[in-house]
Symmetry: C2
Subunit: 287 residues, 2 copies
């Protein structure tokens, strides 16, 4: 779908980018709402919005499409509100990194046939509007989850929105499959990066030493907004905990090999890691 009227709730890096790109792509009316006054004012001043609403209910009143772009903890309440305040024709989506709980909340709000969950595989560790940019989603994979048979039409429309307006690459996925996959490929790495930053940063002797490119890359996502990650890690903890345990076994194995001094085993362990990583090409990467 190409909405005539789009409402975006939450104007941080993700929501701000949705609004900005929609306006650039010619959506006639883009209305935003943010709990953060600075984010809202900057989004309006930057020309990412036609107008700013003073409440979520006002924002969605005339919308064809509502994008909920808040941290996960606010989504449940907002979906209930959208169900009553938005026109009955309006479709609704979100952008959270966990999908099964959001699909559950959408059903709870009675939005089954008007909701599809989204998770754009793009982002930034820069918090708030400051991280917004119109082309954040261009070429990015966006996972879309249907609410089931009754929601398939909404899912098709939402996928079309991501493709036609955001210039992204929507991919339909099952909610549980999505959450398990992301537990390993995104939520576990977030915990690991944070643990590494803490281990090194809390070691008193290392105050103010130079961090090289390796550790900077390895810990970059530790700088991400904590608020969103509290929600994601707790909402998806049943899938995240086994991933963390598998990782802990790997690091313990490495420590055991180092303790034993077994050169051949260490080489094999590192070689398998290198082979796995070389088999993956990340966004914009040349390995």
């Amino acid at each position: 779908m190409r909405p005539d009227s789009l409402a975006v709730l939450g104007l941080g890096a993700m929501g701000g980018s949705v609004a900005w790109q929609a306006r650039r792509a010619g959506v006639s009316r883009v209305i935003g709402y943010s709990r953060s006054r600075p984010d809202a004012v900057q989004a309006l001043r930057s020309g990412a919005l036609d107008d700013l609403a003073d409440s979520p209910a006002t924002a969605v009143a005339g919308a064809d499409l509502v994008v909920v772009a808040t941290p996960p903890s606010a989504i449940r309440e907002l979906l209930a509100l959208v169900a009553s305040a938005a026109p009955s024709r309006a479709l609704v989506t979100d952008i959270a990194s966990v999908k099964s709980p959001v699909m559950h909340w959408a059903r709870e709000a009675g939005l089954d046939d008007r909701f599809a969950g989204s998770h754009p595989f793009a982002g930034t560790h820069v918090e708030g509007w400051a991280g917004a940019t119109p082309n954040l989603f261009r070429g990015a994979v966006v996972y879309v989850v249907s609410a089931g048979a009754s929601g398939d039409s909404a899912a098709r429309e939402v996928m079309d929105f991501w493709r036609a307006v955001m210039e992204a690459e929507p991919v339909l996925i099952n909610g549980d499959t999505h959450d398990t996959q992301l537990a390993w490929t995104s939520h576990l790495p977030q915990a690991v990066a944070s643990a590494l930053a803490r281990a090194v940063g809390l070691e008193g002797r290392l105050r103010s030493v130079t961090w090289g490119r390796g550790i900077c890359d390895s810990t970059r996502i530790a700088a991400s907004p904590p608020e969103a990650w509290v929600d994601i890690l707790l909402l998806n903890r049943e899938a995240v905990l086994p991933a963390m345990q598998a990782f802990e076994s790997q690091i313990a194995e490495c420590r055991e090999i180092l303790t034993s001094g077994d050169r051949e085993r260490l080489r094999a362990w590192l070689e398998q890691a290198a082979a796995i990583r070389r088999g993956v090409t990340g966004p914009g990467e040349r390995l």
Copy 2:
């Protein structure tokens, strides 16, 4: 010093870059040696060398400065050889990520007053000559370790080489201080990145799923050449093991918090990690 004649042993990414930049900077005679025939031939063809030697002894025969740029395991033997084959006026350095063992080998070879250890804080995960580039060291911190009072003059000359010829920023450091610092900021992150790549890559359900930018950055160094890292991790294991244990405590703490579901404690844990990471600015980074 600006050597008239430079010998580089090992023509991988690091040694290749030293040779290439030296030649560009006008060093009259740059002689290379590599056990890898493809690396050697490519270095010669690319104009990074005046000549290729068929043995380390031939390479160093007329040198003012010898740079040993091999994996750490080859350094001990090469230093003994350089001590007998190079002119008595020749100064010697290396580029390994561990310094105390190398300083020990230099003393063992009788090179006390002609050796200073180097560790350029630059690198690439691209293996061999393919990773070489003349400006790899430009603006990079290079740690230089003196062999003690008798080696201070050599250390000054080697620092001057890095500054004047390689356009790097040499910093004098104590060998043990260096090795402890790097155990935390480089060797631990290498083990963590490898463990993370293994944990995710060995999980059967995740074959061929998309890896986002976060995990790609977090695991990038896992693709580094295993050979060099086997040496580094084993040579520095006494400093690396406590760093690994501190890291394991952090990841275990995160898992406990997730298990308990304590939202406030998780927020505080993530916030401290974010504050630490935001307090660091990596090379070429805008956080």
